[in-house]
């Protein structure tokens, strides 16, 4: 009965979203104001029901109810409970249900919490959110039903893809989806504002916390996903430009740009049309990403479902939603009044440059991800890999980071070049010194890592410059947030540049007893032992490593695992984290002479990449809390007056 209850909850939620759409449309007509009060509870109930359906699916997986097709196809009674739980979304139908649940819950939260948006715009926003939900409910119910029963009931399930049998699965997809789908709120806000033609600072201030919230989750999800791929795939890389990685990066880029343009709109009433465009683009990228991954149109390690009919279904949804929003944009944005003007050399100017450069990177990633598709339609097959992405996006990203260092030091509206020069003198001189030192001490560095290291240090210093000479106690929390997030970008850049400039790699076929050198470490291969886990067996190598001559010795144990259901080999790398980097060892196969393939990396400061990502998300969180506290102090009505007084 659990499956039927879940299905019923899903149908009810779908009908409520239809009701929400009609009520919203009726409430927007003259004289429909009386309906306003019903729309909020309907949206909340819809969120609750979708959440209930999702809980039912988790329950089915925890019980390993093999009479449900999805459970039988993706679970196994012998699986550890954590993977039974997380396995609920480690498949196509379950992950789509999570998708829809996040969409509905986000809509419910907007209905429950949003008090600053004008009533009419709020109703239009909720109607837009319901419209998106409706299409994806239909997709679930008609093309990807997670609750389909299976008869006869099989004796055992097929098991979960072993690559997914990792604690990362419990954390990474939900976090990513909160951001990836949560950004739908910005899309609905934009559509709502286009419908009521009410775009201004008040709208921007209402939208900003929602964008920030989704963006924090997206940042965390991407950072965690990158670390997961790094240790689970055993290839030693932290970003592969895989279509699915790009599918999460593109909404993040658009949301990052949106976060900055919405600030211009909120404080200076500029960039009205552009902000609306970015809000539409951010969630459109999420939907296109979902389509690219779920239709199997691009081959990828993440693509569990390859079914053109499902692809066609989502394609129609894309046409309706993105096409609809862009058509509304074409029709309405011309009637949105121009915002206020500003000088090129100003805080606004820097934020516009930030937006343009992020948009260029977004374009580069989008073209690279979909290019194989386009050339295939024109008759040639091509695959686009890291050489393109790094060469095309890398330089733009470096310019972007440089502007990020200077931007917060500029004043709003108009600034003076000589004053700016004074403010950035210290970081600029420091950067010059670092560049010189690197060229002299580490000759032969490639250009991108060289500039990356230089910029990381200079911008790292510049990013805390807004705090100099301020009373730190009285500095608003959102300024702290900005400083920490920008510092996080510099820290992550330092990690990326260091990883690509200084990584040492050794690939050997070693006999027990043999010692290998990698970077500053000597690693002795002591031998292999068979071991067994709950649902796998493995060959585990024991290695002893020490630094330089006679450093402290420590053991590392990489495994080559064989999962029993389904039978699949995976590589579990051994990673030892030091203050200045990581030693990373993966074991391969044995050859006929009893030698084992070992792959060893020394990656200086690689952990800074994820530490930086976490700092960026933490900065976002501080900023969100700071904004919400400030909003509570200033009542909505008085905020506009204050704004006018300031201007």
């Amino acid at each position: 009965m659990i499956a039927e209850a879940g299905l019923a909850a899903l149908w009810l939620a779908a009908s409520l979203s239809l009701l929400q759409l009609f009520l919203g449309a009726a409430a927007l007509r003259p004289g429909g104001e009386a309906l306003l009060r019903i729309v909020r509870p309907v949206a909340v109930a819809q969120g609750l029901l979708a959440g209930l359906a999702f809980l039912m699916l988790i329950w089915l997986f925890l019980r390993t109810d093999l009479s449900v097709q999805l459970v039988a196809a993706n679970s196994h009674s012998m699986k550890p409970w954590l993977y039974k739980f997380a396995g609920a979304w480690g498949n196509h139908e379950g992950s789509m249900l999570l998708w829809v649940t996040v969409l509905a819950v986000a809509g419910g939260f907007v209905a429950l919490l949003e008090r600053r948006l004008p009533q009419k715009t709020l109703i239009a926003t909720l109607a837009a959110q319901a419209t998106i939900g409706l299409g994806f409910y239909a997709f679930l119910l008609f093309a990807s039903n997670p609750f389909t029963r299976l008869f006869p009931v099989p004796a055992e399930g097929n098991g979960l893809n072993p690559l997914l049998q990792d604690p990362g699965l419990a954390f990474h997809p939900p976090t990513l989806y909160f951001g990836y789908v949560g950004i739908s709120v910005a899309f609905s806000f934009a559509v709502g504002a286009l419908i009521t033609r009410d775009v201004g600072p008040a709208f921007a201030r209402a939208m900003r916390p929602w964008v920030l919230g989704a963006w924090i989750f997206l940042t965390l999800g991407i950072t965690a996903g990158s670390y997961w791929a790094y240790y689970e795939l055993g290839w030693g890389g932290w970003w592969f430009w895989d279509p699915v990685e790009n599918a999460s990066l593109m909404p993040w880029l658009a949301a990052t740009a949106l976060l900055h343009s919405v600030t211009v709109l909120a404080t200076r009433d500029g960039l009205r049309a552009w902000t609306i465009m970015l809000a539409v683009v951010a969630f459109s990228m999420s939907m296109i990403g979902t389509f690219l991954v779920r239709s199997g149109i691009l081959t990828s390690v993440h693509a569990f479902a390859v079914d053109p009919r499902r692809g066609a279904f989502i394609l129609v949804l894309l046409l309706l939603y993105i096409g609809g929003a862009l058509a509304l944009y074409g029709l309405r944005v011309g009637t949105v009044k121009e915002g206020s003007k500003f000088d090129f050399l100003s805080r606004e100017g820097a934020l516009v440059a930030n937006n343009l450069l992020i948009t260029v990177i977004l374009g580069v990633v989008f073209v690279g991800t979909t290019y194989p598709l386009i050339t295939e339609a024109l008759g040639t097959k091509i695959s686009v890999g890291p050489p393109y992405f790094n060469a095309a996006a890398g330089p733009v990203a470096l310019i972007l980071v440089a502007i990020m260092g200077a931007g917060p030091l500029l004043r709003w509206r108009r600034d003076d070049l000589s004053k700016l020069a004074g403010r950035i003198a210290i970081p600029a001189l420091l950067g010059g010194a670092i560049l010189l030192a690197l060229v002299l001490l580490a000759p032969g560095l490639r250009v991108l890592p060289l500039l990356g290291l230089t910029l990381a240090i200079a911008v790292g210093v510049a990013s805390v410059a807004p705090l100099w000479g301020r009373n730190l106690r009285r500095t608003p929390l959102f300024t702290w947030g900005m400083v920490i997030a920008h510092l996080g970008v510099a820290v992550a850049l330092a990690g990326m540049a260091s990883e690509s400039a200084f990584t040492k790699e050794t690939l050997v076929a070693a006999r027990p007893g043999q010692a290998v050198r990698v970077g500053p470490y000597t690693v002795r291969f002591d031998g292999v032992d068979p071991i067994a886990g709950p649902n796998w067996t493995a060959i585990e190598a024991t290695l002893t490593a020490w630094r330089g001559e006679g450093g402290a010795r420590f053991e590392m144990r990489p495994q080559a695992r064989m999962f029993s259901s389904p039978p699949t080999p995976t590589s579990e790398a051994a990673i030892q984290t030091m203050l200045d980097g990581q030693l990373y060892i993966a074991i391969g196969e044995a050859d006929e002479q009893g030698r084992w393939q070992l792959r060893l990396w020394w990656k200086p400061f690689v952990t800074l990449i994820w530490l930086g990502g976490a700092l960026v998300a933490f900065g976002g969180l501080l900023s969100l809390i700071g904004r919400l506290r400030r909003e509570r102090k200033i009542r909505p009505e008085s905020a506009d007056e204050l704004q006018e007084a300031l201007a």
């Binding site: 066609a312 979909t370 386009i374």
Partner: protein
Amino acid sequence: MSRKWILWVPLGLFVIFLGFVAFGLYAPANRNIQSGLIGQRVPDFDLPPGMPGRPGLSSPSLRQGRPHVVNIFASWCLPCRVEAPQLEALSRRGIPIDGIAVRDRPEDLAQFLATYGDPFRTIGADTDRRVQIELGSAGVPETFVIDGSGVIRHQHIGAITEGDMANIVAAYEAAR
């Protein structure tokens, strides 16, 4: 108001993108990468026999007016065992099949042919994979159809299954 069309550019770009995507979704899915040598003459090579007492394979013998099927295989390759019955069937139809054994040993080859059948007219030993690479082949098994003047007409990547037979025969007939 003359710049109003700019507001419609995003929609236009999106519709063009959708067009490509829709095409990609419905175009016949063919993820094989074909050799760039299709339509070109086979490169010059002269391979010694793969096992004693059997003829080897050289490129001039592929240019004598009669089409050939060239199968790249190895005794250590599992899919090659799967496709063995299909090669036998082609051979029974009177289609001449030349083998190129990649990184193989005579005794392993003899064992393989004794177990899985021997449809080959000649077997060349490609011990360092040089000829395989020159033919534009990346793995085993792969099968080429070569016309009477030594021009590569068709490439099949992976094991030949029952369902692929019609394709191979058609390519062979077309090469006559």
